[in-house]
Structure formats: C-alpha cells, structure tokens
C-alpha cells in the first residue's frame, strides 16, 4: 500500500521518499472496511449525558496515569509518583495526571475545618478561614511546579528508562488564589520593620508539616495562597483546600494543606532545608537555599515510553522546556548527541515560569539517533550538559539536576535512556 503522508509543502515540496503507513488511499485496490462498511457506532445510540457527571478518561487511555517506582522508597505514604508526560501534549497538566509528593500522606481537610494562622513579627496575629480567603482580591496565574528531586536518580548514570520517571515530577496548571502579600499586610507587617533580611516559615497541616523558610522578599513578591487549579478545587493530594504556589521555586516550598505562616528574623533551618533539599557537593559540603529551578528541557516523544511506532518519513519530535528565572526563549534539538543542533519551534511564546511546548517537525530515514534538547531562558542561561553539571556539582547530589537528557533511538524506533560523554 502506498504512502499518503507527504507533508507536501511543509518539507519543501514533493513526496517524501520512503514515507510509509499501513493505510490505503481511495486509489488503492483494497478497500478499508472501516471506511466502506457501516460501523456499529454509526448505527446505534451512544451514552447519554447523565452517564458520567464527572467525566473520566476513556478506558482506552487508562494506561495514562501517575505511576510510582517501587524501589525508590520503602513506603508510598512518604513518597512520590510521576506525571505521564510521555503521553501528554500542550502545556496544561490535568490535575488527575499531576504528580504527587508528600511526606506523611495526603490528608483530608474540609473547607470548614481549614485555618491559616499568620503570626510572628506581625502587628496582629490573624487566623483566616476559607470563607475569609474568598473575600480578598484574586489573581490567576499558570506556573510549573517541579520537585527539586526531579531527574535526581540520573546523577550517577542513566537509571530510569522512561521520561515519566526521569522528568515526571513536574506539572503546570492555572492557579486561582490570593497573593500571600495581601494576607501578610492584613496581619500587619509593621512589626517586621525593614523587610530585607526577614524570613517567613511556612507549614502544612499534615503530620510532616513540611516546614520551610522563605525570604520575606519572595513572599511579598509573587507567592500565592491558592484554592483552585485549572479552574476547579485542588485535588486532596495537591493540598485541598489550600496550598502555597511559589513561582519558579522548588516544589517542596509549595506547602500543601497550608496551616501557618510565621514572620521571623532568621530562617528556621528545618529538616527539609538542611538534611534534605540541600545539594551535597564533591567535597562533602552542601549548598543550601538553592530554591530556584534553573532552565531545563526534555524530549517527551520519542522517548522510552513513546517509541517511534512508524517507518521512515515525517517525524514530530516534541518536548517541554521551563525556567524558574522567567521565560524560555529558545530550544535546540540535536539528533547526534550534541554535535549538531537545530532550533525547535515553540508552540507559543515562552510564559514566565510556566511550561513551554516545543516541536521539531522533521524527517527520519530510520537512522539511529542520540536525541537531546537544550533550553535557553530570558536571562541567557543555557541548559548544561551532564558533564558540565557534574564538574560543578559532583556526584553526591540528589537535587537540582537540570542537565541535558539523551535518548538513544534505534533503527526500529525503540528508544532508551543513555548517557553520552
């Protein structure tokens, strides 16, 4: 059967030699029964509108779910699962697919039982209810949330054979909430005097409390206290009813089931910012207060969980890019392990601290490829190679691995996670 995939005009005219699919055209001898025969679904009635009041993915997509990795943690209550980014497109992450990370499990707090205490160096220590929160001016903002440990298992080598597992501790949603600045000003910051050098300590209502210190400047800049994600209430596992959004900064700071914000002279130096979420270097010393997620990108298809399932010819290479420092300006793609680069097409202009989708519309002749992507953000920062990152950070680290990822695409389209020196 002949090819009907030429992308004429998109690849410079003429049929693309070797482009083959299994689909006959009307000119072909063998008719396609899916075209020529009346199908059951065209001669019967389907489901009514009351079949599923809250719509779920079709059963044919039930493999597109969050997954965890058994050997990563002994228990699932203090653990993580991963967003199936190999199967998604665009930039918005549906809440149902958005990764979870919690330290003592996802807890159940009703709106009417939720309280936020703002205390410490404020004029009037204040308690807010959910109903109170709804009466302050709201903002909407799309932000990516990336766990500091995303790609953390790859420091020592290519370990996890799927982009869901190497890069899936990230999601990107439209949030609606109240600026934390508004609530801090409501409690009165007079007692904090000069803001510079001051800190806040944020706590969740779960058993771990996941307490973290943040510079007051950041809290007053763009941190949000949110109650909606992609238009609807937060999922329980994402902090229902209220969580913190800290644009561009590591996900561990995005405290869920938010319970308390204390204004302080000094940081608390809690477990989550000393023994955890610090970057141990080659000499054994640890970098701390490394909050910002540097520019990063990854090809989501082809990838180990999304191999090339068709023959040579037109191929869409697609992926995601993001930066905690602002907008993505450019993404380059290499097919030879970084020797040569092509500039990818951004699906839209880069958004400040939100995911950017990129595409490379190209042609594949069945050759083996070492696929890489490289992100450049508005500060001019260029995503580093694994070797460049190791030269600075060593091999002792778990967190903040934003290096260039390599996928080995074989002649049969099968794709694997590899390293190139």
């Amino acid at each position: 059967m002949t090819a009907r995939i030429s992308r004429r005009g998109l690849l410079g005219g003429g049929l693309v030699a070797g482009a083959v699919t299994a689909i006959p055209t009307m000119a072909d001898a063998a008719p396609d029964p899916l075209i020529t025969r009346l199908q059951d679904w065209a001669s019967t009635l389907g489901d009514g509108v009351d079949a599923v009041p809250y719509g779920m993915p079709t059963e044919h997509e039930k493999h597109v779910v969050r997954r965890n990795v058994g050997w990563l943690t002994a228990d699932t209550v203090s653990s993580v699962n991963f967003t199936p980014i190999h199967a998604l497109d665009g930039t918005i992450t549906p809440q149902g697919c958005a990764f979870e990370r919690h330290h003592s499990g996802a807890i159940d707090v009703r709106k009417q039982d939720w309280r936020l205490l703002i205390n410490g160096m404020v004029d009037t220590p204040t308690v807010f209810t959910y109903a109170d929160l709804e009466r302050f001016p709201r903002v909407n903002r799309v932000c990516f949330c990336e766990c500091a440990a995303n790609t953390g298992m790859e420091w020592a080598g290519a370990q996890l054979n799927g982009v869901q597992f190497t890069h899936g501790m990230i999601h990107n949603m439209e949030y609606s909430g109240v600026p934390l600045r508004t609530l801090l000003e409501e409690a009165g910051l007079g007692a904090a005097g000069v803001v510079a050098g001051k800190w806040i300590y944020v706590e969740g209502a779960d058993s771990s409390s996941n307490g973290r210190s943040l510079p007051l400047e950041k809290a007053l800049d763009d941190v949000l206290v949110v109650f909606k994600a992609n238009g609807e209430a937060l999922r329980k596992e994402h902090g229902y009813p209220v969580r913190l959004v800290v644009p561009g900064w590591e996900g561990n700071l995005w405290v869920k089931w938010l319970r308390r914000v204390e204004v302080l002279e000094v940081p608390v130096e809690s477990r989550e910012e000393t023994s955890k979420y610090t970057d141990t270097l080659a000499d054994g010393t640890s970098r701390k207060w490394t909050w910002v997620m540097d520019a990063k990108s990854v090809i989501t298809s082809p990838s180990p969980q999304s191999p090339i399932a068709h023959g040579p010819g037109p191929l869409v290479i697609s992926g995601l890019a993001w930066s905690g420092h602002g907008r993505i300006m450019r993404v380059d793609v290499s097919r030879d392990g970084g020797m040569n680069w092509e500039t990818a097409r951004l699906a839209g202009p880069g958004q400040d601290r939100a995911l950017t989708r990129f595409y490379l519309d190209t042609k594949w002749n069945g050759e083996e490829m070492l696929l890489q992507s490289r992100a450049i953000d508005e500060t001019g920062y260029v995503q580093p190679t694994k070797r460049q990152l190791r030269e600075v950070r060593g091999l002792n680290s778990i967190y903040h691995n934003n290096c260039i990822q390599t996928w080995h695409v074989k002649a049969d389209g099968v794709t694997e996670n590899v390293e190139v020196s």
Copy 2:
C-alpha cells in the same frame, strides 16, 4: 467576635466598617480549637501515592459536576448537560466538568479504528489514520466552545435559576492538533480551484453524523483537527479520539468523532443548518449561517447557585467574558440593573476567542442588587441588553442569545435569575 477582614490598603485604607466573619483572632477571648488543638490529620498518616493513579476530586467537591435539566429534553442520549461554572474560577475548564452535547449519544471509537476521509473536490481523496495525524506539525491553542443554544431558554423570560444552566453550555480548553488546512493541502486542493465560494461538509462517526457545511476560507484559516484537550486525550463524550475545533464559531460545528471532510461547490443545507441552528425572527423568517458567537459575559459569583454566604463588607464579584470575534477588551459591572457601571479587573489580557476571567473587588453593605456584566470586544462590539436583542431578533429564537444577564441579590445574599425592563 471581631472582624479580621479589612482588605486594608486595598479599599483605600482603614478597616471596612461592618466586615464580619465568625473567626476569632488571637486577641479574642474564645480560642479556636482548630488552631489550639492537635487535629487527627496532623497526628496520623494520609493516603499513599498509589491511592488514586488518576486523581479524582475530593468527596467534599462531589457536587461540582455536569448536570442536565430533565424537562429540556425527553431523553438524555440526544441531549445536553452543563458546566458547573458557578463553582469554577480562572479560565481553563477541566475536561471532567466540561459540558456535553450530542445528538445520538457519546460513542466509543478506538484510535486504531478511527479514520478520516477527505474527499470531494480534492486532487487525491485521502484516508488518514490516527497514526498519520500524529506525523503532521501540531499547534496548541486555547479556545472557548459555546453551544449556539447556550442561554437559549432565556429568550422568553428568566427561566433557569442557576448560571450553570443559563450559561453552562461553554468550556475553554487548551487543544493540541493539526490544522485542517494541512490535511486539505495533503489531499490537494487543486480541484477546488479558487477557494472563494467553496465549502466543506464535516461529518462525525456517530449515528446522527451531525453534518455541517463550512466556508472553505474558514477551514483554511484556523480550524483544527485535535486529539488532545488540556494536555490529555479527549474524553469519549468530547469526541475521542479526534474532534474538530472551530475557533469562535458555534459548538455544533465542532464535530466530534470526526469521520469525513468533503470539499464542495455548494453547502449541503443539512438538517443541522436549516431546521436547527438557524435563528427564527419575529416575522417567521430564519437567519442562517450565523456561525460566530458574539461577545458575551456573565457573573458566575454571586449567582443563584453561589449566593453571598457572608455578611456585609468586602465582596468579590467574579465572572467570565468571551467573543467569537477576538479578544475581550473590557467588562463592566452594574449593581443597579444597568443604570451605573463600574469597570471590572481582567485577571489577564483578553485572549483571542478564549474565556477571560473578570473580577470586581468591592464592598457590599447588605443592600439588594441587580447585578449585570457587559462585555466589549476588540471590534468595539458591546454586549446588548435583553431588550435590545429582542428588538432585533424577536422571541421565536433559541440560538445566539448573548444578552446581558441580571441576577437579583437579596439582603440575605440569596440570588435569583430575573429580568429588568
């Protein structure tokens, strides 16, 4: 107990007189046990990450679902349900909450069984599979989809007492797909010769087929053949695996389970564009080819399903605005039935043919209100009053009712759907 909601600085300084909530401050006599006592959720473990591979809304939000109206249609297979916009915020509509409208039920078509035939005045009648579709360059775009009959029950008077039912035949998602132009060019438009005056006829794979004619110019301009919404596969009820997206035009044209696109010299004048989806005027004649959805807005809160649940003081009035002609430039809000108007705050710059969220951060002293919102789009078009619309369109119509909606807010916060002359 004293008020702790002042929005100091946001309402021009000083405490807002009369702002009352039931929440004590630290200065109050009675301690709040939800603050002072250890809660169960802070001393036990929550759910693990493998509890729900595909995350669902918490049970506390199970009332936020699509609903239908029994008396609207005799059966639910050829019917509609409505998006719970009274309970949503931001602009993105989650697929699970996005309204459904189908004419013979939601059918089940697997990706491997999906075919798209492009025939008629093309050089090479061509069949595309899902795998073929994935090999063409993709675009991402956020668009609203509004049923032409949205607000259709309100022509004769104020009938449905909830914004979910008066305005809920709308959703707004980020789509990923292939421009229809690309597929038409793949089949070769040479036979169509001059584009002007030519048409396409689009059909779905369901029993109704829901066939509609479209000018070829529109098909070549911005119509998309999409397979993802908000990043993931379409829900079955939204046309899985492939539907049409027709930016700014009535939802009936967004054919689901897309099966065929035929290029024609003349429109088909099908049932769906003659006896249905035409606008019958006062004199009995009908307007046809009224595809574009004119500028429209509605206040989603307060509204009958979202009354004011607190006392006087700070109040956030929120709603949605959209235009099939481009971007929303301004939204005005009236509290006295249209005599006086205040300009609302747009949560972000208006997006081309996508929903815009607006807020009015104001103060309510417990007075009765006749709440209205009025949208103005980039063409300068101003959303009409119900009276203005009736003067032109009469009372025989079902479709394209984009008039200004009025909510009557009573002193106790209860809100109802009313008309003002």
